[in-house]
């Protein structure tokens, strides 16, 4: 589906949650670079997660999942004693191959960059909010104080200078890896194979498959359990599956919408 510049490979994130230490450097580095406002001082009590989820003011979110598990005994076999594991995973906009947010955006604020990433242009967004329900992951959100929609840009401004996104740059254990998507997929396949060999039987890749409901994600994950455990939808589907053909036959309707947003675009220019 993507029509990228032939010379620019698609870039993305591979977040290997098996090495995430839950330090939240990604959250801070993202906010510092992108000047994302403070979300607020809310003690949530959901383990060490006080961010809660992705939103207009949280473009990276580290989930913490405390799970009881059997402890292996000295010989390595489960003895049924109470043990636990603590899963941590840094979530982010998936930069879907088929991005519903982009499809429904009437102003063209959302666009696909030459890196294959999906970015909101703040100066164009008029805050209509169509993108919000369109996202199958619940990522994009309007900022209350502002009205416009915000989400991860994969640090579009940094990529142009050959820099990696702020979160990946900071990540102490390289849980967040940035690179060419094809290469990341290869790396992820290898990592998964190693983990499965090591007995991590629930390990899996999430969003890696180009044939899934969103055509694969530009930001995909290695998880150690079911996606739902991390608060991720198990089988996301692009909400605008049929939109391209509709779009082709609905010029008039689109123009009507466009006229509606033109006023606000005009208003925004001042």
């Amino acid at each position: 589906m993507t029509q990228q510049d032939a010379h620019t490979p698609r870039m993305g994130f591979f977040t290997d949650t098996s090495v995430c230490i839950g330090c939240k450097a990604c959250e801070v580095a993202c906010k510092e670079w992108n000047a994302v406002p403070t979300k607020g001082m809310d003690l949530l009590g959901t383990s060490y997660d006080n961010t809660g989820g992705l939103g207009a003011d949280t473009w990276r979110h580290v989930a913490f999942v405390e799970q009881p598990v059997p402890v292996p005994d000295a010989a390595g076999s489960a003895q049924g004693a109470d043990g636990m594991r603590w899963l941590m995973a840094s979530d982010v906009c998936k930069h879907c191959t088929h991005a519903a947010c982009l499809d429904v955006c009437p102003t063209g604020a959302l666009f696909r960059t030459e890196y294959g990433t999906v970015v909101v242009q703040e100066d164009v967004c008029n805050g209509c909010g169509y993108c919000v329900p369109a996202c199958p992951y619940g990522v994009i959100e309007r900022r209350e104080s502002d009205g416009r929609a915000f989400k991860c840009t994969l640090c579009y401004d940094r990529l142009g200078e050959g820099l990696e996104p702020a979160c990946a740059k900071a990540c102490p254990t390289d849980s967040i890896q940035f690179g060419e998507l094809d290469e990341l997929r290869e790396r992820a396949d290898l990592r998964l194979a190693n983990l499965l060999d090591a007995g991590e039987s629930d390990a899996r890749l999430y969003g890696r498959d180009p044939d899934d409901g969103v055509g694969g994600d530009g930001a995909f994950f290695l998880l150690l359990d079911e996606p739902e455990v991390y608060g991720l939808p198990p089988d996301p589907v692009v909400t605008t599956r049929d939109l391209p053909s509709m779009w082709k036959h609905a010029g008039v309707a689109a123009l009507t919408v466009a006229a509606g947003v033109a006023a606000s675009f005009l208003g925004r220019r001042s």
Binding site: K24, L102, D103, C105, L110, F111, G160
Partner: protein
């Protein structure tokens, strides 16, 4: 900007009239988006620094523009940190630019209920006077067993461990000359 140019700059118009109807690629970019670039490239200078939080000693690059810190991020060259920073290190820019920092001397007089302002020079002078007076009042040439101690037990100091070596050195040197021995540091804690 003429009207035509303005209309051209409207992404939806360009999507509808151009070849990129699905808003993929350059056609969808607004002017500001086209001009978008990393602010680090505008820096007047990039200063090598070290993270001030824990003792791992991660390398930092401090980007400065117009005399202001615009970004702090990890130094890829560091064999210790390889360019990475934890949440505290990543928050270093806020540490140094935070509006919660205080930039003036504050003075609370004995039994006072409010802070007062005081010029820095005056504060320094007052502190020097107190050091000298306290030292005089509490000076011990000998302890109670007649052993030479030449010290004051009236002045104490407790420093944090984010002090530079050079700062600790001058502190210890000055305190020792003054005869102040209750000189301590977070390193004891």
């Amino acid at each position: 900007m003429g009207v035509r140019q303005w209309i051209d700059s409207w992404p939806v118009y360009r999507q509808l009239t151009g070849s990129d109807r699905l808003a993929r690629g350059a056609a969808a970019q607004s002017g500001p988006t086209r001009r978008l670039h990393a602010r680090t490239s505008d820096a007047d200078q990039v200063v090598r620094s070290i993270c001030p939080y824990c003792a791992v000693g991660c390398g930092q690059k401090v980007y400065v523009q117009d005399g202001r810190v615009t970004q702090i991020e990890g130094d890829d060259d560091s064999p210790i940190s390889r360019g990475r920073l934890c949440p505290k290190g990543s928050a270093s820019k806020e540490l140094v630019t935070s509006p919660n920092r205080v930039h003036e001397v504050l003075y609370r007089r004995p039994y006072g209920t409010e802070w007062e302002r005081l010029p820095l020079d005056q504060a320094m002078d007052m502190i020097a006077d107190r050091v000298i007076a306290t030292r005089r009042e509490t000076w011990e040439d000998e302890d109670e067993q007649g052993r030479r101690v030449r010290r004051t037990m009236g002045i104490a100091s407790l420093g944090g461990a984010t002090l530079d070596n050079e700062e600790n050195y001058l502190m210890k040197k000055l305190y020792t000359a003054l005869g102040a021995i209750q000189v301590e540091n977070q390193a004891r804690i």
